[in-house]
Subunit: 368 residues, 4 copies
């Protein structure tokens, strides 16, 4: 597993599994002098943590983050920040409940690929590091990134654009912003949210699960972030979002819809507003040539239905290679879409802050 | 522009603009002992090069690649491979034809973002490095990657899945493979291809352009490639594909369709075939937990309609910030989808070979 | 502080200050299936830890390392390994003892550079991250690297080659190996060690300190590790060793002596022994063209005298910029040379394991 | 060969062998708007190029560099800069002269390590990429770095501190600066230079070679460059300098002499001069805690005697593994020390500019 560091300047390194002792993270690139206390990171962790609604997994975690290094008297020192989140749920009894899953390929999970890649010694308990639990540390790191981005005037928010086939209609951005986080579905249209919730509960009742689409918006990023040709802003955003478990697609702005548009429709026409250049439309999703345009950066990700379902499925035993069946008996979410919101925000924040720092390093046309 | 290197072990670094002297590339990570001559790279370059059909730009380039370093007597030496492709089309007369575009924001292009990021000294001729011309070097490097992947039994091919709103139906994979490259549209269904061509010519006649979807398939990759949690195979594939100009979306396997599926539908059930584990379906697109499953790796990208159109568009002057109009008078493609095929293959190859080498470095469960 | 990760494949990321809560580390690239328990890391930590002799700082730390992630039942899983070492010495009372040092430039320390780089919010307590305490995590990570190297037959040991101007004569390598760790001086010649100790105690009595030279030897590395032209084995070894605080010079093999040698003297002549190629001499220190030769890899580092001395020194106040004086009242070592031994070993191990994995990735002349 | 890129922000990637077609380089991180023409790079290339004196190799190269990309009308555009230097000396006849060396281990060269690492397909002609010829591209890239550093007020110069056992005494820095480049020895003391030259000619007459010490000074770097704990300025400087072929040692400031000093002697005491903090002495060589202090950055490297000598040496045949002898019949330098001057300057420049850009990215205590 050689990919546990993200970013070039603002670098986040994480470790930790679903039922290990704790999650750990080291965050580099935070300038000295930023007020930062544990409570500042907790808000986003609380938004991600399990056990918050009837459509989320019943696992209970306080997800309390501790800062072990990098701050002094509540202010960053310029040194790397070390974070730890204990796995409180990981008791021997609960681990024992997974014993029957050890050698069974769980459909839709990383069970098979981890077994083949890492061998018999992989951490198999609830899929170990492949479990969504690792994203708690992404959210903690992302909360630091968000604080720094705020100084540039950048705000990031995400919401449930679609769930179980039900799509949230287009709404004024200020409505979205105000209601993006409305529990439990995090869809800003209350009527649609109600239908989405019903769909999720229905799937849960059937021992099944549903997928959806999360949309993330970053407002206020200046023009100029992104490093062609391989570290374009959209490329790195796609990597960041696709690196979240269960994500099967990423699109920017008009996204896949561009495939059916004419050039004359899709091109965003520039206009001058208050002396500054803006665009009449934002099909580009705030990125042109891999560089931010100053418009809202808009990305959508496709979230697959939770693979852990209560229905019995045909499968294969990893060791004997004989046919068997699998039915999940442990904690699960009928949908992970609402919990994906803070994770998508975090990954977007990590990409943006890294590009902000990279852009500052290069400093074209300035002296020296 | 701080992002001109791709990959961690198999590293590709490129330089070059649309109307500069030449494109340059350095490819690192090619093992010694691989037969490699210029002709070996030319086939893919010829598939990408302009001027091949009535729906491609009339720019004419031989795109002849020269190997300056890294081989001896037609065999790689283990040293980095230096490649150069001259820009034959870039004569002073043709450059002069762009003079009128210098200070105009060309809608849908990187004109504005490059001006703001790099200032007055950016290369503005046909958008310089933001022009698709740089992809020729990606294709050359990708051709090296493909050769190495062939030794692992991996084959990569792409085709036009949709063009101008017309979608190619599902076909047997062997039909796709055999006809993926059929000119000029590169859609393996001849009837659909005919309709696509008509649509493209219609757009051209109107001075407009169309977008589409390219699907890329990698066959034969073993289970085990991909490095969680930030260098997952799908994450890096998304970055690689999204880093190509004009791409606005990437999806893996079932992609955005998962948003409307049930868990019980979407999960691919494992089966044993000839003693090996395979899957009944491949909604995962060959990747689970960020690691290849051994099934076909399937990705689709959304290609926007060529922003360069012959229709007059409202825009703004970069310097005066006054309203003006722009209509393209230089070479352009009514659609770039067919030319995107070898580029998508190349980027897929670069990702796969890098992950193949990374996976070999880690060597879990083997000695030492 | 943007440099807290070391290595390309075997990557170590650290955080932590002298008087913070704890040191943290994340180690990536450890293959699954390696037995690894906390006790396995403790031996080297015990060799580095303070409070072991009359010539080492009286700070007392158990330096007990905890593994938070990356192992299951005492075996690595392929996931990144998270390590924590608590700072037990860091009580509020002991921190208070440093209060008088806050705004004084401590000669020979990083006080001034940290203040200028990070500003008033840097961690100033015992120089925070610039304090040698961070090397405890290097040693813990190095202990993992050593275990992996043992599987390749590589053994690493270091010893005090010189202390306070007294130089250990050349000894048979087996004598060095057997006595490299002899306390308290870690010089394998007992007579010389006795004189070195006396010199250190003499300096201590005068409120002064002494420097020395540490020599590190890696035996058993095969020919072929090192990646020209910028990641040569000697280049990365130099970086690794020079990155340790207080090191002012690094030399390989004959080192600076080559400046006075003739080519005919310095060239190591190859011979065949038992069918394998060896060299009559090893002025190259086991590295030619940046690649290991199979001979012992030999490096020496110059360790400056501990800057913390009990003698009063002229200096300047950071804030008022007025002249003042400084005399250390807190814990210090009259020499840090013996404690440098396990640190130099650790950094050598980190470089070698990373190059071992890199070399395996490339796999020249092998299939595929 | 996986190490052909240097730097994190200002990244240089090179390729090319002694008798290949050409050397190639791509330089990333150069801000847009910097005047840069081929002639600007030629001065340093001319200082490195062979054939300049009776103590340098008679190989003749114009070392003319061509800029293929990254500039427009003589000004950088922000895009990566592609450079090519043709190998004019590499004619088939001259290559043929090396035929007899193909399978012989040349003592002191990388012949054996390259053969073992890369196999029979390595480029064996004059050691291919292991030959010092690749440093021409380092010098070209370094010349770009020097231009950028000049905007920060940083000047870099190097000189021959010792040659063949003769050491240049300490001289006023302005004398060194004025005469650092005096041909042919590049030792600023004319009397000492005369003796050095005599020593070199004497060695040449005997068919032998001599080594020496190059000292490099960087003046004007501000306090604050360097990224603890693994990317310290001295660590990266050591790596950069040690990565040059034939370098066996690197020291900073007092270097190995610190091993014999007392803390009270070695500590540089701060003073206030014109309101700014300076140091009474500079044993630290301008770097404390891995960060520049604002004083001169001073490094010395030990250069081994050219391994290519005209005297017959015992050796072994790579293929038959039988004893044989080797005597060089092709071009060689009796000493490479004077030609090492511009190379050491270039590598120092590459390190400093990269750290300057990294430091700017982090921007501690500034907004945002």
């Amino acid at each position: 597993m050689l990919g546990n560091t993200f970013g070039r300047i603002f670098r986040v390194t994480t470790a930790g599994e679903a039922f290990g002792t704790a999650l750990a993270g080291i965050v580099e690139g935070v300038p000295a002098g930023t007020p930062l206390q544990e409570a500042d990171l907790q808000a986003d962790l609380d938004r991600r943590k399990p056990g918050q609604s009837e459509i989320a997994t019943p696992r209970i975690e306080s997800d309390r983050v501790r800062i072990l290094a990098g701050t002094l008297d509540g202010v960053t020192t310029g040194a790397p920040i070390a974070l730890v989140i204990d796995n409180e749920w990981a008791t021997p009894e609960r681990i024992a409940a997974y014993a029957g899953e050890k050698d069974v390929i769980k459909p839709g999970h990383a069970t098979y690929t981890y077994f083949e890649k890492f061998g018999v010694h992989r951490d198999w308990i609830a899929d170990g590091r492949a479990n969504g639990r690792e994203t708690a540390m992404r959210v903690a790191a992302g909360a630091i990134a968000k604080r720094l981005l705020a100084a540039w005037g950048v705000e990031i928010f995400a919401f449930t654009r679609a769930l179980g086939g039900i799509r949230c209609p287009d709404l004024p951005i200020e409505v979205i912003r105000a209601h993006a986080d409305d529990p439990p579905v995090r869809c800003p249209d209350p009527e649609v949210a109600k239908r989405m919730l019903a769909r999720a509960l229905e799937a849960k009742a059937c021992g099944d699960s549903i997928g959806g689409i999360v949309e993330v918006v970053a407002r206020g990023a200046p023009v100029g972030w992104g490093e062609p040709v391989f570290d374009k802003l959209d490329g790195n955003l796609a990597r960041a979002l696709m690196s979240i478990g269960s994500i099967k697609g990423v699109e920017i702005g008009a996204g896949f819809a561009v495939a059916g548009m004419l050039g004359s429709e899709n091109n965003d026409l520039p206009v001058v507003i208050d002396g500054g250049i803006r665009f009449e439309t934002n099909h580009a999703g705030g990125i042109l040539g891999g560089i931010s345009t100053g418009e809202d950066i808009v990305a959508r990700v496709a979230v697959k239905p939770t693979p852990t379902i209560a229905t019995e499925q045909r499968t294969v035993d990893l060791v004997t290679r004989e046919r068997t069946t699998f039915r999940c008996v442990t904690a699960s979410d009928p949908t992970i879409v609402p919990r994906m919101i803070p994770i998508a925000e975090a990954m977007t924040a990590l990409v943006l802050i890294d590009h902000a720092l990279l852009a500052r390093a290069a400093s074209h046309g300035k002296e020296p």
